[in-house]
């Protein structure tokens, strides 16, 4: 699941030197689109703006051309097409307008969970070799900063990760869960190797 944040003012200023056409993608607004910040930024650009398209799912290649049709002249008049969306949307627009300077006004962050508009409390990294059977259902790839698959690194302090002290140690969580379902002996399994070529 993706969310977007507006880039810094300095970067935005450097991107908007000439005339600009703006595409706001509200597809992920339900997740988080910086609507207010975007509006302020766009207002401040004044007559540099040749047009604005506010829509959703810019990444939908079937519908993007239909939506841009009405704005053809405004896009033509712009030096830069500035896209406020995740990286997928920017790339879709760039490919659709190959001759145009297409720029990203946002940075994209990943939140846990693949589907839907509500981020999840768990994450799956699609490692292709599910370890959940030996961990009582807590993922060592995403719950451990180091993605260790054979137990704790030893660096945890008071149950918190040494890499990111705001995060609980994944392997302590795994221990707790296994104790709870009385399956601690599954940890006596052979040493696990992660196959990155999977």
């Amino acid at each position: 699941m993706l969310i977007t944040e507006l880039k810094s003012k300095e970067i935005l200023d450097s991107l908007t030197q000439g005339k600009v056409f703006i595409i706001n993608c509200h597809g992920c607004k339900e997740v988080s689109f910086p609507e207010k910040e975007a509006e302020e930024f766009e207002k401040a650009l004044g007559d540099k703006v040749t047009g604005i398209l506010t829509t959703d799912y810019v990444c939908n290649i079937d519908n993007l051309p239909l939506r841009l049709e009405k704005h053809a002249a405004a896009i033509e008049a712009a030096d830069t097409v500035l896209v406020l969306s995740c990286g997928v949307g920017v790339q879709t627009v760039a490919e659709h307008l190959p001759g145009k300077r297409v720029c990203a006004a946002c940075d994209t962050y990943a939140l846990p969970g693949h589907q839907g508009v509500t981020p999840l409390e768990h994450e799956c990294d699609q490692c292709g070799q599910c370890y959940l059977n030996i961990t009582g259902g807590t993922c060592p790839i995403t719950a451990c900063s180091k993605s260790l698959v054979n137990g704790q690194c030893g660096g945890a302090k008071n149950g918190m990760c040494e890499v990111d002290p705001t995060m609980e140690c994944g392997w302590e969580r795994i221990m707790r869960k296994l104790k709870q379902v009385d399956r601690l002996d599954v940890l006596k399994c052979p040493i696990q190797l992660r196959q990155y070529n999977k």
């Binding site: 939908n60 990286g87 990203a104 940075d107």
Partner: protein, 653 residues
Amino acid sequence: MENYTKYALKPAEQLRELLAQTDDIFVIACNKCFKEFTVLEEPELDAFLAVAKDMGKNVTGSARADFLCNKYIAQKKLPGLIPEGTKAVFVISCGLGIQTIADIVALPVFAASDSINYTGHHGMALTKKACDACAQCYLNITGGICPIVDCSKSLVNGQCGGAKDGKCEVSPDKDCAWEKIQQRLAAQGRLDELKAQAVQIRDYSKVSHKLVAEYVAKIRDLRFAGYYGGVHPSEHKEFSEGKELVTFPAPDIAVIPMAMHLGAPANPVVQVGDYVKVGQMIGEAAGFISAPVHASVSGKVIAIEDRPHANRGMCLSVVIENDGTDTLHESVVPHGTLEDLTPAEIIDIVKNAGIVGMGGAGFPTYVKLMPNKPIEYVLLNGCECEPYLTADHQLLLHYADDVIFGLRAMMKTVDAPKGVIVIEDNKHDAIKLMQEKVAAYDNIEVCVARTKYPQGAEKMLIKRVTGRMVPSGALPADVGCVVGNVSTTKAIADAIKTGMPLTSRITSVTGEYIKNPGNFLVRIGTPAASLVEYCGGITDETATVKAGGPMMGFVQNGLEAPIMKGSNGIIAINTDPSREVACIKCGRCVDVCPMELKPLWFAKYADTENWEGMKAQNVMDCMECRCCEYICSSKIPLVAKIKAGKNAVRGMK
């Protein structure tokens, strides 16, 4: 179309190893997401069951689920499904579903599948584009080609030097991303930009656990606020929000439809040539669920015929030529004080005044005032959660005392000890005013609700204020509530205090394509065209015109329809030219459905006219709020399909 299926069943020998450890198992399989919705039941469950059977294992039961990682729904449905005596649960899904189930059940949980590895996110449409969400978008310096995803080594400062004939040295079937970047920038004459760039350093600390955890908490809090689901469309109230209420002149010709409510249309009781007065009944109720209709102007009836209607196409209407005298009908006399009136008398007044739900649904209000269960709360919907509309907001500001009077009348009628006026937090002035006004009453309070659509819907309002869930097929009264709209309540106050039946209302004329948006106190039967004309007209001929708000309003092909009892607005908004494409099971409709339904199945079943399937998926619980259609990444007209399903299911009985 791409297929982003995220799991595959583990090989049989691995399943055997896992199964050897346990017995008496329950199996849950996720129906897979992010793939074209062609297969209804995925084959992995049967394949797994065959292995278990072969090993002589006792399977206590199995279940299939959509979007298993949706913990809220899984938590509600799952525990009841697992029989006593089950010793372990096997889950066939990606890692998200397995972790979710491991959280919910106290039994050992086994993964019967492996997730399928792929790199990068793909956005909401099933496209090949990928984004790794690096939090430091490089697309500005690369002509829109992603060096993180498209370069095998995710290099951000140019080519590694290993490419041969434009192909990557890591994966020779892949184009070198930096050659593509170079070519695109050259074609755009932007190579100098690239050369002028400072050395790029990727900052891996940008995506910290803290940042992610805070976003997750914030968004989940917003999404689950008050009730499951719902959406947050752009409010767009700014067009008409600050516009002072204008009393719109009575029309020269009033066209008053006989159907402005749910249930049977009223029967005209006047004839062409009759002289009618303001407040005179011109159509009588034609049944229990029906409502009478009154003249909003005085003058001669010049026609009784079918005329355009905002949501019925054509409708029998009484057409009155206004004589401009506003002569009141003799029946329009005050009914006395609230203290002197009995509940039965109030019900009669509301019934005879033709008062119906003015939020748009048009359910006859007097029926709501005769609940067959004890009532604890009368809830007033002052949310106006529809984007653009500001009619109820204006009503609260101008008729606060009448709203409270009407609420007290309702509370007296249904013998409710508590009254709550719910207002969304985007109407600060109305909240402040109402809080001051209700201070005088111990049994009335103002509830400030965080904005979320469709908060104003009865069941959502009840859940938000009382925490009670109205069961499937049940009514608000079943959980001790009566819900009314603030405009309706004001109409009740008018009917009691002045005797005037429902002959006028406040409506917003707004949207980006209305020249001068505004809010108007307008007589029922006023042509929409004259209001729009007063507002300077519609500035773009491609605009979509709707009677009502953008979510639940009805698309109009012209402006011939008149203002009716439920007309809370006329809007002219942007038209989205996009077309319906195939469902990709993104699951967003399930995430937003406030009734906790699975709208993707309605689309699937409507296309094959599988009405039994529709019924089994509880289509009758749908209130057509349009959240699913709003969020649909494939632009599927879900509400039309749901309506077809509901009609067919009604026909089955």
